[in-house]
């Protein structure tokens, strides 16, 4: 019996190789940066649902590897892919972190928006697209923060 219990534990461990070591991108697009800071030079661009290998964690940042490129990505741009037992049993009181990953692209998606838009032609989606193009570049924002004697995040 003892041997079979040990074997079972080994099997459990083997069934989860590197489970905690991957994260999935949950933003439309994001950057892997040279160091773990906003405004650090961009080494690679990642897109929604890309899987990144976690090397280590540094504060609010993950050091990751993606297609041979190593660098940093902020924790709010990714989600852990694996489901932990505590979340499965609900002991943390929140939904499973892998939920979003498992259901990527489902639910309210571009197909639903498109049908909604056709049904409600009076809604101003063109203006929304314009607003989504508003923004300032990294270098402009750094300059703005520094000139205003604000804190660089």
């Amino acid at each position: 019996m003892k041997i079979s219990v040990i074997a079972l534990f080994i099997l459990i461990a083997a069934s989860n190789p590197g489970r905690a070591e991957t994260v999935t991108v949950i933003t439309k697009q994001n950057a892997i940066r040279t160091s773990c800071k906003f405004f650090s030079p961009v080494k690679a661009t990642v897109r929604y649902n890309d899987t990144l290998e976690v090397i280590s964690k540094e504060g609010d940042w993950f050091q990751v590897a993606f297609k041979g490129v190593k660098g940093c990505i902020h924790k709010s741009a990714v989600q852990k892919k694996s489901l932990s037992l505590s979340k499965l049993t609900g002991s943390q009181g929140k939904s499973a972190s892998g939920d979003e990953v498992a259901l990527a692209g489902k639910g309210f998606n571009p197909q639903v928006e498109s049908a909604y838009k056709n049904k409600n032609p009076e809604l101003n989606f063109n203006a929304v697209n314009r607003v989504e193009n508003y923004g300032v570049s990294d270098s402009e924002l750094v300059q703005f923060i520094q000139k205003g004697k604000l804190n660089l995040p």
Partner: protein
């Protein structure tokens, strides 16, 4: 006893395998269904809800064509958002100015934030503008917009999308989803524009705004200054933001309790005021 232990271990083992995506039939599907029944909206779905809410707002309000002002508001907003608890969202933070005299601001789910010209005229410094935007960023961080969606709608979405891997819907599925989507947009829009968030959501947004402002290097007292002036100018009981927010006096009292002991360096606030005045010209 040992048999009982083996059964428990086997159950745990089954759960682990189920999570790793290996198809073990009905057990895996039951686990997946359990998640879906209580699933919150994903960041991606929140983004699509936010886009449609924004489209509704922009059907009633026009966008300011003042590029200098829009760029400036985006710089202030992003400086704050980067210091929030959720500096990155699915579609990013975008700030826009609405042509309206009413004193108002709206945070659409996902990160699109509108501020009216009336609001920009009501704030008297960059730090006050940052305080207003920080409050809105806090609503995005706290997902207050999508929390207005009736739970029954989310359960319906979970049932409709099922466990299939396909991401394209049949015409019948799509029609049902659009109905639920439409209802969800109504829920969020009514909360944002007509009824306002709950008092606790507003108080939390004020409290979070103070944290973001402090981290960003703005004067957190700017939030209180702005609220004080609204109250003393007699605008605290008017339309716009005052219609949808708790009593200004209550907000001031709570904000006061959460402020740090010292104000930010006044000379730095004045330094930022120069570019504020320039942007508004």
């Amino acid at each position: 006893m040992s048999k009982l232990i083996s059964v428990h271990l086997l159950s745990i083992f089954t759960l682990f395998i189920g999570c790793s995506g290996v198809d073990i039939g009905s057990v895996g599907r039951v686990v997946q269904k359990t998640f879906e029944a209580s699933r919150p909206l994903s960041d991606e779905e929140e983004y699509y809800v936010g886009r449609s809410v924004a489209a509704r707002i922009l059907s009633s309000y026009s966008l300011s064509e003042n590029k200098k002002l829009t760029d400036y508001v985006n710089s202030v907003g992003k400086a704050v958002a980067l210091n929030s608890d959720k500096p990155i969202t699915y579609g990013g933070y975008h700030f826009a100015v609405l042509n309206s005299k009413e004193i108002n601001a709206f945070a659409c789910p996902g990160g699109t934030i509108f501020v009216t010209k009336g609001m920009i005229n009501a704030v008297e410094s960059e730090d006050e503008l940052a305080a207003v935007l920080a409050h809105e960023v806090a609503h995005v961080n706290n997902r207050d917009g999508v929390s207005a969606i009736q739970k029954a709608r989310l359960t319906e979405v979970a049932t409709l999308i099922g466990t299939e891997a396909a991401q394209r819907y049949t015409p019948a599925q799509l029609s049902q989803l659009v109905t639920v989507f439409e209802g969800s947009i109504d829920d969020v829009f009514k909360t944002l524009v007509v009824n306002g968030y709950g008092k606790s959501q507003e108080y939390n947004a004020d409290e979070d705004a103070i944290s973001y402002l402090t981290r960003a290097g703005y004067d957190p007292y700017a939030l209180k200054d702005f609220l004080d002036r609204l109250a003393s100018d007699g605008k605290a009981s008017g339309g716009g933001i005052m219609k949808t927010h708790p009593a200004t006096a209550d907000r001031i009292e709570r904000v006061q309790k959460n402020l740090p002991k010292k104000r930010a360096d006044a000379s730095l606030v004045q330094l930022r005021d120069k570019r504020f005045e320039k942007a508004l010209k």
